[in-house]
């Protein structure tokens, strides 16, 4: 079941774009979308004045809107999208399966539960960073469990099964929290949070997750050559000098840092990590190592674009980002499955 060569029937001729050019192009699109995200919002904003004021340290209305609302939203959109895209590519490379997604090892479910816990005990209202801290703590606990397993030398398949178990357990605990919730207001707050959004996050959220994400990205990127080696299976990768046990630690740790902190600040945003690597894979000649960075930028593009579009769509209340990505992503997943089955 892990051999999914047929998944990629799209004839991968020599990529039209070199790897370097592709990275630069995607990075440029991210920059443009970041700028667009800063300039689009519900109130008109003189961006130039806002930036000048913010740099000068003046607390004008423009500067406050920029620093308190627009900047955290844009920055988190880029950071979370990058994390999800890169982690998805890394998990697909590790599992050697195009249907793997960043949450497959269970950290996203655990992070969501951690955040919900801080809602449940009312901590989220008491301290603004309690929510992401709760999420990060949840992801951390799940990672400890996975590390304990990986340390015993279990294979990749066991890690997936552990991820399934963690996801269903934390999912059940999240439902329990809703079930026992003291009042309907708390329930609706949790449910809305779980849908995933970048709205109304402050700059401290960014500073909190940035170092975690950067560390995670570093770990994931460093695994590129080993993921290439894994193309021919675990024995061949090992014979090429890659330590698979270390690789599993590295990838679980990297994905946990990147995805755990993403979920902790934004809730669940699905399908980005599944769809983006799949779309970009032919452009890097199906090389799992090269797919990492490219999928990071691709993920940032998708989330930023989706987050801009929920603000432009004339639908109120604003659609939650997780809802939008799932509405676009699920049919895409179905198409992928359909083609996979057809190719057998």
């Amino acid at each position: 079941m892990m051999s999914e060569i047929s998944a990629t029937r799209t004839a991968a001729r020599a990529p039209a774009l070199s790897y370097g050019a592709l990275v630069i192009l995607l990075a440029a699109v991210v920059v443009v979308l970041l700028a667009a995200s800063l300039s689009i919002g519900y109130a008109p904003l003189d961006l130039q004045k806002a930036i000048t004021d913010a740099i000068a340290g003046k607390s004008t209305l423009e500067a406050i809107v920029l620093m308190e609302l627009r900047l955290p939203r844009a920055a988190l959109g880029g950071l979370v999208g990058f994390s999800l895209g890169m982690s998805g590519a890394a998990m697909q490379g590790l599992m050697r399966n195009p249907l793997a997604e960043p949450g497959i090892i269970g950290v996203s479910g655990a992070a969501a539960f951690g955040a919900v816990t801080s809602f449940y005990f009312g901590l989220a209202g008491a301290a603004s960073l309690a929510l992401p801290f709760g999420g990060i703590a949840g992801a951390f606990l799940a990672t400890l469990l996975l590390f304990a397993l990986a340390g015993r030398g279990v294979g990749t398949m066991t890690l997936i099964l552990a991820g399934v178990a963690i996801n269903s357990f934390t999912g059940a605990l999240t439902s329990l929290a809703l079930n026992l919730s003291p009042n309907p207001y708390a329930v609706s707050e949790i449910v809305f949070w779980l849908m995933g959004s970048f709205a109304d996050r402050s700059l401290p959220y960014v500073w909190l997750v940035l170092p975690l994400m950067l560390t995670g990205w570093g770990l994931l990127l460093a695994s590129g050559p080993a993921l290439d080696g894994l193309t021919l299976g675990e024995d061949t990768a090992k014979s090429l000098g890659f330590d698979l046990k270390r690789l599993r630690f590295q990838l679980v740790g990297g994905a946990a840092l990147a995805v755990g902190s993403s979920v902790a600040v934004t809730g669940a945003i699905g399908f980005v990590g599944l769809v983006v690597p799949h779309l970009l894979r032919p452009l890097v000649g199906h090389r799992p190592g090269r797919l990492l960075l490219v999928s990071g930028f691709g993920g940032a593009i998708l989330t930023l674009a989706a987050d801009i579009s929920v603000r432009l769509l004339p639908i109120r209340p604003e659609l939650k980002l997780g809802v939008v990505t799932a509405i676009i992503g699920a049919p895409f997943l179905f198409r992928l499955i359909y083609r996979l089955r057809g190719a057998e």
């Binding site: 051999s3 050697r96 590129g224 894994l230 199906h286």
Partner: protein
């Protein structure tokens, strides 16, 4: 580089798969590993490649243990061609073959001129130059095996351990691959190859090691190993045999069940 395994024992839980196996291969030599299904050929080859730690005994490479040599250096010296290896992503053929150079690359450095030369040599040797810009889902089963062999050759290791490299090939390509393996040995490398085709094993290998019943039944020159008695004991078959150019060949004829 000489590979020498001493007193290898392998268990799967309660069951003993192999016991007291001594094995060695020298540079310039091609050794065939033969035996019935489940006799432990692949497992022994994985032990020789340092992919599995034996439950008993030790393997030395040029007199040294694997941990003395270091992972990276060992990866440069041993090329392992897995049995019926899955190719999980449909890369271009030359990209896939270039994976064989990973042990020689510095972290995140691109391929050097030396790497490119090694890749070209490997592609020429395995006769896959014409396929280089195809993707892996555009090649036939036989082409795929030759590409995987080219990947292993691209390591340019002093030892090549190949698990059933001709299982999926037609007779012409079987002969070509065996010629190639022998030529690789003649360049001074040590080659160990797991085979099911007894005649090709006898013809192309300098020595044969016949595994059966939890250990080495017999090892030696093809003529010493390929006796009626050994083949009946190991495989439970009676063979028809002949000779061509001074070389024995055998055709399994009747099942005799031990």
């Amino acid at each position: 580089m000489q590979l020498a395994a001493k007193d290898i024992g392998i268990r799967f839980g309660e069951m003993t798969l192999l016991q007291g196996v001594d094995f060695s291969v020298n540079g310039g030599e091609i050794v065939g590993l033969i035996g019935p299904n489940g006799s432990g050929k692949t497992t022994l080859l994985r032990v020789l490649a340092n992919l599995r730690i034996p439950d008993h005994g030790e393997v030395r490479y040029g007199g040294k243990m694997a941990r003395e040599i270091g992972t990276k250096s060992l990866a440069q010296q041993i090329a392992y061609l897995a049995q019926a290896s899955n190719v999980h992503w449909s890369m271009r053929v030359d990209t896939l073959i270039a994976l064989g150079r990973l042990p020689h690359r510095r972290f995140f450095a691109g391929p050097s001129a030396h790497d490119h030369a090694a890749i070209e040599r490997a592609m020429a040797a395995a006769d896959v130059l014409a396929l280089r810009s195809r993707t892996m889902n555009e090649v036939s089963g036989g082409e795929r095996m030759r590409i995987l062999l080219a990947r292993a050759l691209a390591v340019e290791a002093s030892l090549l351990l190949a698990d059933e490299p001709i299982a999926a090939l037609d007779p012409l390509h079987q002969l070509e691959v065996m010629e190639l393996l022998r030529a690789t040995a003649r360049q001074g490398r040590g080659v160990v190859v797991v085979l099911h085709d007894l005649s090709l094993a006898a013809r192309f290998c300098d020595r044969l090691v016949l595994l059966a019943n939890g250990g080495i039944l017999v090892s030696g020159t093809p003529r010493e190993v390929m006796t009626d008695r050994h083949l009946a004991d190991a495989y439970g078959v009676e063979v028809v045999r002949g000779e061509r150019d001074g070389m024995p060949f055998v055709v399994p004829w009747t099942a005799v069940r031990k």
